[in-house]
Amino acid sequence: MSNLEDLYREIILDHYRSPRNRGELPTPPAHQVEGFNPLCGDEITVYIDVSDGVLQDIKIAGHGCSISQSSASLMSAAVKGKPVSDVHATIDSFKRLMTVHESQLDDQVEPEPVDLRKLGELAALQGVVKFPVRIKCATLAWNTLTQGLSELNA
C-alpha cells in the first residue's frame, strides 16, 4: 500500500464526503469552542452538550482538509453519547497514536504502543503519522474538544 493510499483510506474519504454530526447546537445549553490550524487556515467549531457526566451530543462546523474533516467526523461518532471519562480515554489513545513523531522530537522517549483494536474506525487515521505536517490536521478537532471539556471542567 503506497503512503498516499494509506493516508487517504476509503473510510477517511467516506467521512470527508459524508461527515457525521455536522452542524450546530444551540448555545446555551450547548458549549461552543473554536480551533484554528494557523498553518493551513483550517477552522473548526465544536459544539458539545455535556450533562450528568455524559457527552450527550456533539456537532461540528467549520472547514478544512479531508484529514481534519474526516478526523472530526470520526471523533464525533466515537465520542457521542459516551461518559466523559470514556471520552477522555479515547482522546488520550488517539493523541498517543498521533504524537509518536512529536514526542520523539521532544523527550526522546518511546511512547507506549496504542491498542489499535480499541480505537475502532479511528485507527484508519494511523496512516497520517507518516505525514508529520498532517498530524496537526488530524488532531485539530481533538484539541478543540479537549479545550471545550476543560472549559466546562468536564
Partner: protein
C-alpha cells in the same frame, strides 16, 4: 523566449536533481522561497573557509575582508534596487518581516500619533499587517484599507479619499496569493500628492523583474534574500537617506551606539544604528552572490521568461480542466506575475498539495500569510504553484498530470 536559457539555470541548482518517491522534483514553490544556485552556496562556503571574522571592530586582515564583504553586499543591494545612496540607505535585517517591524517600530512609533492614519491594502501579507496592528494597539492611530476588486486588482477608486490626511501608504508590489502586480509608480505619486510617504513590500516582486526605487520614487522598500535565490536569514530594509537619518533606533545592542554610560546611551548616526549585534555576515555574502547571479541572468529576461510560463500555464489550466480548477488572480499576464493560486473544485488545497507531492510536485497549500485576503474572497486556502528563474513548461506538464490524479482521487 529570447536567448534566456532556463536549462543553464537548472544546471546551477543542485536541488533540482532531487528525486522524490521515484519522481524528479518539480519545484513550484518559488513564491515561498527560491532554490539556491551553486554560486550562492559556494560564496558562503568560501567566506567561512577563507575570511570569516566579526565585522566593523577588527583591524586584522580577515576582519577587514569580512567587513569589506559585508559593506560591499550593502552597496550591491542598494545598487540592485537603484538606490541613490546605496551605502547610506540599506539596512540588513533577518527578513522582510523584520524590515516591516523596523519600519513600524522606528519610523512609525516616531511619526504616528493617535490622531494619524495609515493606508494598507486588503491584499497585504501578514508581514505588512501585524507590525502595524501591534503599533496601533499601543498608540492608537487608524488603519485604512485599500480594497481589492473582483478582478483581483487593487481598487484605486477610493485611493485619494483614503490617503487624505494619511501619513503612509504601505502596499505590496506583487501579491503572493493573487500574483497581481500593483502599480507602484501610480501609488507612489498618489501618496506623495497627499503628503504621505510610501512603503513597498517587494518580497514577491524583487526576484521577478526590475526594481527601481528612484524611478518609482519609493520611500521605503522591504525584501528577503531567500526569495531571490539567496540565503535564509537576511532581509533588506531600504529608506531614503533623508528619512532614515531621522529614524530612531530599533533593536539595541553592540555596534549601534556612539557611546554608552551606565545611565544611558547615544546611538550611532549611520545605518549601523539599526544593526545591533553581530550581523548576518555570511548571509550578506550569499545575498551579494545572488544579486550578481540575477544580474547576469537579467531581471527583464527573467520577467519575460516567467511571463511566458505563466501565459502557457493559465491557458492550459483553462483548457484542460474546464472550470474544475480555478486560478484566483488576474487572467492577463501583463497584470500579474508567475504565482498561480489554484482552487480545485471540491478538494481542499491541503489534499491537492499532498497528492501532488506524490508526483514530486512542490506546491504550497494554505492562506499564504494573507488571511484577510482569503476572507475577502471567501476561500479557506488555495494551493499555490509559483515559478522561478529555473522553471520550465515541463514543470507545468507534471503539475497538470498531478491535478488529474487529484480530481480522480477526490472526484
Amino acid at each position: 523566449m529570447s536567448s534566456y536559457d532556463a536549462q543553464r539555470v537548472r544546471a546551477d541548482v543542485p536541488l533540482l536533481r532531487r528525486v522524490i518517491d521515484g519522481h524528479p522534483i518539480t519545484y513550484l514553490d518559488s513564491a515561498s522561497t527560491a532554490l539556491t544556485p551553486r554560486p550562492v552556496i559556494e560564496a558562503m562556503s568560501r567566506y567561512y573557509e577563507t575570511r570569516h571574522a566579526n565585522v566593523h571592530r577588527g583591524v586584522y586582515t580577515t576582519a577587514e575582508e569580512a567587513t569589506a564583504s559585508y559593506e560591499g553586499a550593502r552597496v550591491a543591494a542598494g545598487v540592485f534596487i537603484n538606490a541613490r545612496h546605496p551605502a547610506q540607505e540599506i539596512v540588513f535585517t533577518k527578513n522582510t518581516t523584520e524590515s516591516f517591524n523596523l519600519l513600524a517600530k522606528s519610523w512609525g512609533r516616531a511619526n504616528l500619533t493617535s490622531s494619524d492614519a495609515i493606508v494598507l491594502s486588503e491584499m497585504e501579507h501578514h508581514a505588512n499587517l501585524i507590525p502595524w496592528f501591534q503599533l496601533r494597539d499601543e498608540i492608537g492611530f487608524s488603519i485604512r484599507f485599500l480594497p481589492v476588486g473582483e478582478d483581483f486588482r487593487l481598487d484605486l477608486g477610493p485611493l485619494d479619499q483614503l490617503l487624505a490626511g494619511a501619513k503612509l501608504l504601505s502596499v505590496s508590489a506583487m501579491s503572493n496569493v493573487l500574483g497581481t502586480i500593483n502599480p507602484v509608480a501610480t501609488l507612489s505619486a498618489a501618496a506623495h500628492a497627499a503628503g504621505a510617504l510610501i512603503a513597498v513590500d517587494a518580497a514577491q516582486s524583487v526576484a521577478h523583474g526590475v526594481t527601481d526605487v528612484q524611478e518609482t520614487d519609493v520611500d521605503f522598500l522591504c525584501f528577503s534574500a531567500h526569495k531571490m535565490m539567496g540565503p535564509t536569514g537576511i532581509g533588506v530594509f531600504y529608506a531614503k537617506r533623508d528619512i532614515i537619518a531621522n529614524m530612531p533606533p530599533f533593536l539595541g545592542g553592540g555596534g549601534m551606539i556612539a557611546d554608552v554610560r551606565l545611565d544611558g546611551y547615544t546611538p550611532a548616526t549611520g545605518v549601523e544604528r539599526f544593526e545591533a549585534g553581530t550581523p548576518m555576515i555570511a548571509e550578506a555574502v550569499g545575498l551579494h552572490a545572488a544579486l550578481r547571479y540575477l544580474d547576469n541572468l537579467g531581471m527583464s529576461a527573467i520577467a519575460e521568461h516567467e511571463r511566458a510560463l505563466t501565459a502557457d500555464a493559465l491557458g492550459r489550466l483553462r483548457e484542460r480542466f474546464d472550470g474544475r480548477v480555478r486560478v484566483i488572480g488576474p487572467a492577463d499576464v501583463h497584470l500579474r506575475g508567475g504565482v498561480l493560486s489554484l482552487d480545485v473544485a471540491g478538494v481542499h488545497p491541503h489534499d491537492v498539495a499532498q497528492v501532488l507531492d506524490q508526483h514530486g510536485v512542490c506546491v504550497r497549500p494554505g492562506h499564504h500569510c494573507a488571511k484577510p485576503l482569503m476572507r475577502r474572497f471567501d476561500l479557506p486556502a488555495t494551493a499555490r504553484a509559483s515559478f522561478g528563474a529555473y522553471s520550465l513548461t515541463t514543470d507545468t506538464d507534471v503539475l497538470l498530470d498531478g491535478l488529474d490524479h487529484v480530481l480522480e482521487l477526490f472526484g
